[in-house]
């Protein structure tokens, strides 16, 4: 019923640990701030730690052969983890005044007794840290001399280190330091008139290469024998065109470095006469690994090149380009895209020769281990970075399957049922029991690729940061298909934004496959042109893709569909023009009919303005575009910048179904809910209190919540919480809003509920009129009718801080609701909405108790059994999606973060279905017995009547 999957994200550093055989592991750190130890044989996770969202890993290494050292949080946190089990051994905080490039260096030979030194350069300082207990042994501040450290270099086999850096852009500094005590042995400085820019590449222990500010001259800096010497080599002298983007790529090859120029990469070698020469020229898709030292100082590195559907991996010995140690070619699924990173490791073959394995990170964030020309395992780690999720129905079960298949399945079906019957009647032999177990384990019913009666089987369509779309089967979580979105020539760095259900065939368009719309953007700025892709959810094929001329800052799915069940969408560009999709005449005619009833609103959080817009006219422009419309501002709400800052804006889910507009209270009284889809919840805080919790005094912190009608801009409700501050997490559903915030005075988190009732309908209480249908309760309403509303609110303490809040949704909206709260412990807690009911009182009357009103308490209870995730954790929880099943009692819940978790929930128990362990055999038996009894008694009574008549 539920499944849980663990991921790590896109790997950015990897350190192999294979000194001892039998412990074949690789330690990786990822873009999702995960540190994990993976099994090299199967790719499973041995242990894993998910660091906080701001705790970005800068570097990892292994010290003393037993500790994994990680440097994170912009070089300010250094931690050691026990290699076998991942327990944290120590943690040190490194302080510094100024930002600088965080560097981690774990020399193998700087040993004092059993200790070894770790050198960290971060925040303008160089720290030496003991690897046993994390004690900072000495610190040297370079920021005071305004030197920005570029490299920390250990001189071979000595306890001296070089620290090189720039002061300004043209002054080069080289410090020689005794690593044992931090004593400065020598300081050299020299100015280079051309100035420096970009990364430095270390070519040998006393030579490095960098670029000058014009990016056309390679500068070789050598600082041996306490002397700094510059040598300039013009790129054009190497026979290369130096126009365009030139950059030095960080690498650790000895005597060689890589320069990227436009679309290709150059491998340049430093000859023994300190001359530079181009060794090789490859296209930019080629990736080079770091140098690996294996047996007695021999070095090797790997080069990965693309060739059609294949990927060529070549391992070359250091400095000798023309020699290959290993050359392999592997077939690569084109859905994986390009190779982004490669890490190599060596192992001893049985004949004592060296073999190499490569860990490859692909464009779609997947991780592969390649050994002997084969992919040993792969991990789909794009699923750790989900941006958006939607669902799709599975195909309807097709009729007219071939006879052989039917016979086969019929036989199987009969066999299965015979076995089950045997099992129920306790006649099963041990083998049969095993077979029944196997059938249950396989539970093919769960993972079938067709629609089921209860609507439990669905496809979860997820969009990931890797621009890859996956379809996960809700039954077992397996990947049904995956698609790496096509990258057009025009766009270099597309980013994806959101997923929308484009076509959901329903009644008359049954033969069409459902499809989703992926909205992306070419670049990161909001002005960047949008990209639309349409993906068939059955086949996983990209149907169409458009590079638009306009941008997209808002996407609005309209509540109208055309004859092929394609949903109309409006895209708002940054000039506040709206564009209609699909671009068909049918769509435009549907839109024209509803033209005057379509509005949109924008929340400008930075300016503190909410604006409502209406569609005005067709766009005026040199190119006539029938699908483009101008809008005009109808209303605006301007929050005073000095006292209020927008931190949250939440609206109702457009597809939410509400069963009834009336709420019946215990006294047979009726309250009419104010149910409007055009409702917006906005939370603002005092600008002073918009930072961390504790950054402001209770007196200067306040939280103001608003309920705004987005058609007219009318503020329906406003409430101020004094001494409260964000972050605010809110959920708006039916006629209520629940929000979570921090109360500075009580030093606790609070949750508030506000319910909105329509006062203008309250007079509809005449039974006779209601019986005769003489009321206008179901007539369409307009926001301009300005209904009178009343609100009821209540506030409770809540123990946890919250990462996400969602509410269960069911097919008809009859079932009572549960709030799903993603807690700080990365779990999902289900909390009955009954606990957040403003009508709760300390002493409810008997009638109220019967209605189910819980006596008021100051805090919301956390019942351990109501954790939806049980004992599992959805690490890095970011979002919770609820989807109704066809069965009214049941809702499907998908929680995602670094991990994925899926389950089915029934907030009011499964009142509309029998449980899975219901004994159908007993029911059948009872019915048969009853029918037999009816027949027998009928015959008997007939006989008796006949006898009576003869008397």
């Amino acid at each position: 019923m539920d499944w849980h999957q663990q991921y790590i994200g896109k790997v950015k550093h990897a350190v192999f640990h294979t000194q001892k055989t039998g412990r074949k592991r690789v330690v990786v750190s990822t873009e999702e701030n995960v540190i994990a130890s993976l099994d090299l044989r199967h790719g499973e996770i041995f242990w894993r730690h998910v660091l906080g969202i701001n705790d970005v890993v800068d570097g990892i290494d292994i010290a003393l052969g037993k500790y994994v050292i990680t440097l994170s949080s912009d070089g300010s946190t250094l931690r050691a983890w026990n290699l076998p089990d991942g327990q944290m051994v120590w943690e040190s905080f490194l302080r510094g005044s100024k930002h600088s490039k965080p560097l981690l260096l774990v020399p193998t030979n700087l040993k004092v007794d059993k200790d070894s030194l770790i050198l960290v350069s971060s925040k303008g300082c160089l720290h030496a840290v003991s690897s046993i207990d994390g004690e900072i042994l000495w610190t040297r501040d370079f920021a005071a001399e305004s030197v920005e450290v570029q490299q920390v270099i250990q001189l071979d086999e000595s306890d001296q280190i070089y620290v090189v850096g720039y002061a300004g852009s043209s002054q080069f500094h080289a410090y020689q330091i005794n690593a044992m005590n931090g004593e400065l042995l020598n300081h050299e400085t020299a100015a280079f008139s051309g100035g420096f820019v970009g990364d430095v590449a270390l070519v040998s222990s006393d030579t490095l290469v960098t670029l000058d500010t014009t990016r056309s001259i390679l500068v070789t800096v050598s600082f041996k024998n306490r002397k700094i010497a510059f040598q300039e080599t013009h790129l054009s002298n190497l026979g290369e065109d130096s126009s365009g983007m030139v950059e030095i790529l960080p690498s650790s090859l000895t005597g060689m470095f890589t320069v990227k120029i436009n679309n290709y990469k150059l491998f340049i070698r430093l000859t023994s006469e300190d001359k530079l020469e181009v060794v090789h020229k490859v296209d930019h898709e080629t990736v080079v690994s770091d140098a690996l030292v294996f047996s007695e100082g021999k070095e090797a590195f790997a080069v990965v090149e693309h060739g059609g559907s294949k990927v060529d991996i070549t391992v070359k010995p250091g400095q000798d380009w023309n020699n290959n140690l290993v050359q392999e070619s592997i077939e690569m699924d084109h859905q994986r895209g390009l190779v982004h990173k490669v890490f190599i490791n060596n192992y001893l073959r049985t004949d004592r020769s060296h073999g190499f394995r490569a860990l490859i990170v692909m464009e779609d964030h997947s991780l592969l281990l390649v050994q002997q020309g084969k992919i040993v395992w792969n991990r789909e780690d794009a699923l750790a970075s989900i941006i958006d999720v939607t669902t799709s129905e599975l195909p309807v079960e097709k009729e007219g399957v071939s006879v052989a298949k039917v016979e086969h399945s019929l036989f199987e079906w009969l066999k299965g049922h015979m076995l089950k019957l045997k099992g129920t009647l306790m006649l099963a032999s041990p083998e049969d029991v095993a077979a029944i177990q196997a059938i249950r384990l396989k539970s093919s019913e769960k993972s079938k690729m067709t629609r089921d009666h209860n609507g439990f089987r669905k496809l979860l369509i997820v969009l990931t940061k890797a621009r890859k779309i996956f379809a996960l089967h809700s039954g077992d979580g397996r990947v049904v298909w995956s698609l790496l979105l096509h990258k057009s020539e025009a766009c270099d760095s597309p980013t994806e934004l959101n997923l929308y259900q484009w076509q959901t065939p329903h009644h008359h368009a049954m033969d069409e496959n459902p499809s989703v719309l992926v909205v992306g953007r070419c670049g990161v700025s909001s002005k960047a042109p949008a990209i639309l892709s349409f993906v068939d959810t059955y086949t996983g094929k990209e149907l169409n893709s458009f590079d638009l001329v306009h941008s997209a800052v808002q996407v609005m799915p309209l509540p109208f569909t055309d004859s092929t069940e394609q949903r109309l969408h409006l895209l708002v560009d940054d000039d506040r023009r709206i564009h209609l999709y699909p671009k068909t005449s049918e769509a435009i005619s549907i839109f024209q009919q509803e033209f005057s009833n379509i509005y949109w609103y924008s929340v400008e959080a930075d300016n503190g303005i909410i604006k409502g817009h209406a569609v005005k006219s067709k766009c005026a422009g040199e190119v006539l575009d029938d699908f483009c419309f101008e809008t005009r501002v109808l209303w605006s709400i301007i929050f005073p910048m000095e006292s209020e800052k927008i931190i949250a804006a939440v609206s109702r889910k457009q597809n939410e179904v509400v069963h009834t507009q009336a709420k019946v209270t215990s006294e047979q009284d009726v309250m009419y809910k104010y149910i409007s889809k055009n409702l917006l919840f906005v939370a603002t805080v005092a600008p002073k209190a918009s930072g961390h919790i504790g950054s402001a005094d209770p007196d200067e912190a306040w939280l103001v919540v608003y309920l705004i009608d987005t058609i007219t801009g009318r503020i329906l409700h406003r409430m101020t919480h004094h001494g409260a501050q964000g972050p605010v997490h809110a959920v708006l559903s039916e006629n209520w809003v629940v929000y979570h915030y921090f109360n500075l005075r009580a030093h606790r988190y609070e949750m508030s509920v506000t319910e909105i009732y329509d006062q203008s309908r309250a007079e509809n209480k005449d039974v006779l009129k209601l019986v005769l249908g003489k009321h206008n309760l179901t007539a369409p309403v307009s926001s301009y009718s300005r209904p009178e509303i009343t609100t009821k609110s209540q506030t409770y303490f809540f123990t946890h801080s919250v990462k996400a809040v969602a509410v269960t949704s069911t097919a008809k909206g009859i079932t009572s609701k549960q709030l799903l709260i993603g807690t700080i412990g990365d779990q999902v807690l289900a909390l009955d909405k009954r606990f957040l009911d403003p009508r709760r009182s300390i002493n409810p009357t008997q009638a109220e108790k019967e209605e189910g009103i819980i006596p008021l308490a100051d805090s919301l209870p956390i019942i351990p059994q109501s954790y939806v995730t049980h004992s599992l954790k959805v690490e890095g929880l970011r979002g919770i999606l609820t989807v109704p099943a066809k069965l009214e009692s049941t809702t499907l819940v998908f929680a995602y973060g670094v991990d994925l978790f899926y389950t089915r929930l029934a907030p009011s128990r499964t009142y509309d279905s029998l449980t899975e362990d219901f004994s159908y055999a007993l029911l059948l038996l009872t019915i048969v017995a009853l029918v037999a009894a009816i027949f027998v008694t009928w015959v008997l009574s007939e006989k008796k009547e006949l006898r009576e008549k003869w008397r």
């Binding site: 509540p559 609103y601 929340v603 009336a662 889809k677 917006l680 039974v767």
Partner: protein
């Protein structure tokens, strides 16, 4: 009922009545002879049978009244049972209420049948029938009242609006914080 049948059964299978029972002399062309008293003659002739008939009619009407009053006892018992059942909805109270509703209805449907045995030209059955119907209607009313106290009758506004779907909205709006 059995007794009634007995009365009928014990009588003659068929009979021709030669006596002239008419009391109005005007119907005859010839006047009665002098000294002839028609009444006295009749009495003389059929005193016995007439008395018997009267007794039978009396008895029938008495019985009909008794039958008509029978539902009253039923009513009392039903009332007691209802009081015992309480005002919460559960199997027992619902069963009693529905039987209290069903009994009068079925009785009312069979009014004709119940009084058939007492049908007689001399017996006026209208009174007993009305009483019978009235008492059964009383029983029905009691049942309905009980149904109402159980809250099973749609007499409140809440019973009629609880399934009203929310009103449709004329306007549509979308938007929010810009995508990023």
């Amino acid at each position: 009922m059995e007794k009634g049948k007995g009365v009928m059964g014990s009588g003659r299978r068929w009979a021709v009545d030669f006596t002239d029972n008419s009391t109005t002399p005007s119907t005859r062309d010839i006047a009665d002879p002098p000294g002839f008293s028609r009444a006295s003659q009749d009495q003389d002739d059929s005193t016995l049978s007439r008395q018997k008939k009267d007794a039978e009619a009396n008895w029938k009407s008495q019985k009909a009244w008794e039958v008509a009053q029978a539902p009253f006892k039923n009513l009392m018992m039903m009332g007691f049972m209802m009081w015992m059942a309480g005002s919460t909805v559960h199997l027992f109270s619902i069963g009693i209420t529905f039987s209290a509703l069903w009994q009068p209805i079925s009785a009312l449907q069979g009014v004709g049948k119940v009084f058939e045995p007492y049908k007689d030209s001399k017996v006026d059955l209208l009174g007993p029938k009305l009483l019978f119907i009235a008492l059964n209607l009383g029983g029905l009313a009691l049942g309905v009242w009980k149904l109402n106290t159980l809250g099973l009758l749609p007499t409140h506004a809440s019973d009629w609006v609880s399934s009203l779907p929310p009103a449709l909205e004329v306007e549509y709006s979308g938007g929010g914080i810009p995508l990023q």
